[in-house]
């Protein structure tokens, strides 16, 4: 037996690993297994039938559409914000970073509520919207707004530390070689940040597709119209259609697993640290 000054004995190590694994297995793995097992409880036929309903399809399409709108918006914002923040020095920078992170500290329900208060029937702009026959709350625009709010910091907070670390040398080199601003960004900056950007997009997308609280407040739960996948799960569950609920939930769980795998690959391959991301 080897004695080591700065590590625990094998038995202690084994016990600590066992406790940690038991905890993770119980709190993380078991719920995940439950989703798939409940979904397939009555066989693959029932599973497929549950997903093939028109309402489920509508929910899937809406969810994809919401992500397809809000993720690119966050990408553009994230790149612009991190360019301004990391490539220039100006006073008030740390305040700006804090403000960008603000949506993380707001409850999802409150995130939905603020848009109801602005654009709902009794909201600040409610009368004006009604007069112009525009609908935001209980309609797709409201869901997009709430999703963009919830996922607001994802891309920016991934890019800011990365670009801070990379500095400005590469951009200066490109400019000194005659490149203009866009060429510098396109040929030098973007390739430098592409994996970090992809990482941010992954997390942003997972949250955009999976958001429940904020979307629930603004959507109005109109089946086939303003029902996203997580909301559809809730409706089916409350109607005691457990197989249906878990079938749709298992699709979302697959999305989560794909996200985790892709995220881990990016972390190993490109040495991106996950940090305390949300």
């Amino acid at each position: 037996m080897k004695l080591r000054a700065t590590t625990e004995g094998r038995l202690t190590q084994f016990a600590l690993i066992a406790i940690a694994l038991a905890f993770l297995g119980f709190f993380l793995l078991l719920p995940l297994v439950a989703v798939f097992s409940e979904a397939l409880k009555q066989g693959a036929g029932a599973f497929i039938a549950a997903i093939e309903t028109p309402d489920a399809w509508a929910a899937i399409k809406l969810t994809l559409m919401i992500a397809a709108i809000s993720v690119p918006l966050n990408v553009v914002f994230g790149i612009a914000a991190s360019w301004a923040i990391t490539k220039f020095s100006f006073p008030g920078k740390s305040l700006l970073i804090t403000l960008i992170d603000l949506p993380f500290s707001v409850s999802p329900v409150v995130s939905g509520l603020i848009f109801v208060l602005l654009f709902g029937a009794n909201g600040l702009f409610g009368a004006w919207l009604q007069a112009h026959d525009l609908k935001i709350i209980f309609a797709v625009p409201g869901i997009v707004l709430a999703t963009v709010f919830i996922t607001f910091p994802f891309v920016a907070r991934e890019l800011i530390p990365l670009m801070m670390e990379q500095g400005k040398d590469d951009e200066e080199a490109a400019l000194s070689l005659g490149a203009n601003g866009w060429q510098t960004f396109w040929h030098v900056t973007l390739p430098n940040i592409r994996w970090g950007l992809l990482y941010g997009v992954l997390l942003c997308n997972a949250r955009a597709m999976g958001e429940f609280g904020a979307v629930s407040v603004v959507s109005g739960h109109i089946r086939g119209e303003t029902n996203t996948m997580p909301l559809h799960v809730e409706i089916l569950y409350n109607e005691y259609d457990f197989v249906g609920a878990f079938a749709v939930a298992s699709l979302l769980a697959c999305l989560a697993l794909v996200t985790l795998v892709a995220k881990s690959v990016l972390e190993w391959r490109f040495d991106l640290h996950s940090g305390a991301s949300h």
Binding site: T6, F90, S107, G210, F212, G213, L252, A256
Partner: protein, 287 residues
């Protein structure tokens, strides 16, 4: 010809240091505009709405007995879950950083599951597990332990949601903490537990506190994973976010606003606290 040529970029933007890189005006302007439009103005609107209610009315609906018991439940369960996570999150981080065991990479990836799994999915899965006839519930029920539809169930959901916050804040600090300080402690005659308590723990305490605070803040606001398992009985298992939704459904906008403002003030205070802890930590470490 004038003898002092001011280059134009500097003259135009005195308040920031000049740079050869282009695009500051565009990106900064867009950042500020989009931030205001999506985040700042909507958040300001809710405070404006609350201010318009009048102080006594705000207190009346924001601190009604139903609201108070919702706060107690939300903050209490979030604190309990945060504590559980502080203990087990530290253990998980320790095991992941220090030990080698098969499947470690998968376990490490699994820790982020609560970030990736939609909350509603987690909610129904936990309910299925802990309902009296569920996988876990059927063993607990005969023992008289009720999980689903009790504060205990809410706590379990919040443990699920909060775990990665603790693990991911402690992990890098633990990994950064060089073996050499432990070796130094050992050469000075410290036992392993003395080394942990007096050398390692103080070094990771700020990160642990940050992780706890983030898990707590998230737990207080959490909705999707909780509402299925909580049972939602007013005054008993009704969390504050759910109370907001209930008020909204009854068109009680002022009640919803008042409760939201109280929760936001608490969240922002926690956020400021985290920043202060981190700033103090950085200052002390001389980084």
């Amino acid at each position: 010809m004038s003898t002092t040529t001011l280059s134009p970029p500097r003259a135009a933007r005195r308040w920031r240091k000049p740079s050869v890189l282009p695009g500051f005006g565009l990106t900064f302007g867009f950042t500020l505009g989009w931030l205001s439009l999506i985040v700042l103005i909507p958040i300001a609107a809710i405070f404006l709405k609350a201010a318009g209610m009048g102080w006594s009315h705000f207190l009346e609906v924001g601190f009604s007995s139903r609201a108070l018991s919702a706060y107690r439940l939300s903050f209490g369960t979030a604190a309990a879950a945060g504590l559980v996570n502080a203990v087990f999150g530290l253990l998980v981080a320790w095991v992941l950083v220090r030990y080698v065991f098969p499947g470690k990479a998968i376990i490490s990836a699994l820790v982020d599951l609560p970030f990736a799994l939609p909350t509603a999915v987690a909610g129904i899965a936990l309910t299925a597990l802990y309902a009296p006839n569920g996988w876990v519930g059927q063993f607990l029920d005969p023992l008289g332990i009720k999980v689903a539809f009790t504060p205990l169930g809410i706590t379990i959901a919040l443990v699920f949601i909060g775990l990665p916050f603790v693990v991911r804040s402690v992990e890098p600090v633990l990994a950064d903490l060089g073996k050499d300080v432990e070796e130094a402690a050992a050469t000075l005659g410290a036992t392993r537990s003395q080394t942990f308590l007096r050398v390692i723990f103080p070094a990771i305490a700020p990160a642990l506190l940050t992780g706890f605070a983030m898990a707590f803040a998230r737990g207080v606001g959490e909705y999707g994973s909780v509402i299925f398992i909580s049972g939602n009985m007013p005054g008993k298992t009704e969390i504050a976010p759910l109370l907001i939704v209930t008020q909204l459904e009854q068109y009680a906008y002022e009640g919803a606003t008042a409760i939201a403002v109280v929760m936001m003030l608490v969240s922002f205070t926690i956020l400021l606290g985290i920043n202060a802890v981190q700033a103090a930590g950085r200052k002390r470490m001389g980084a």
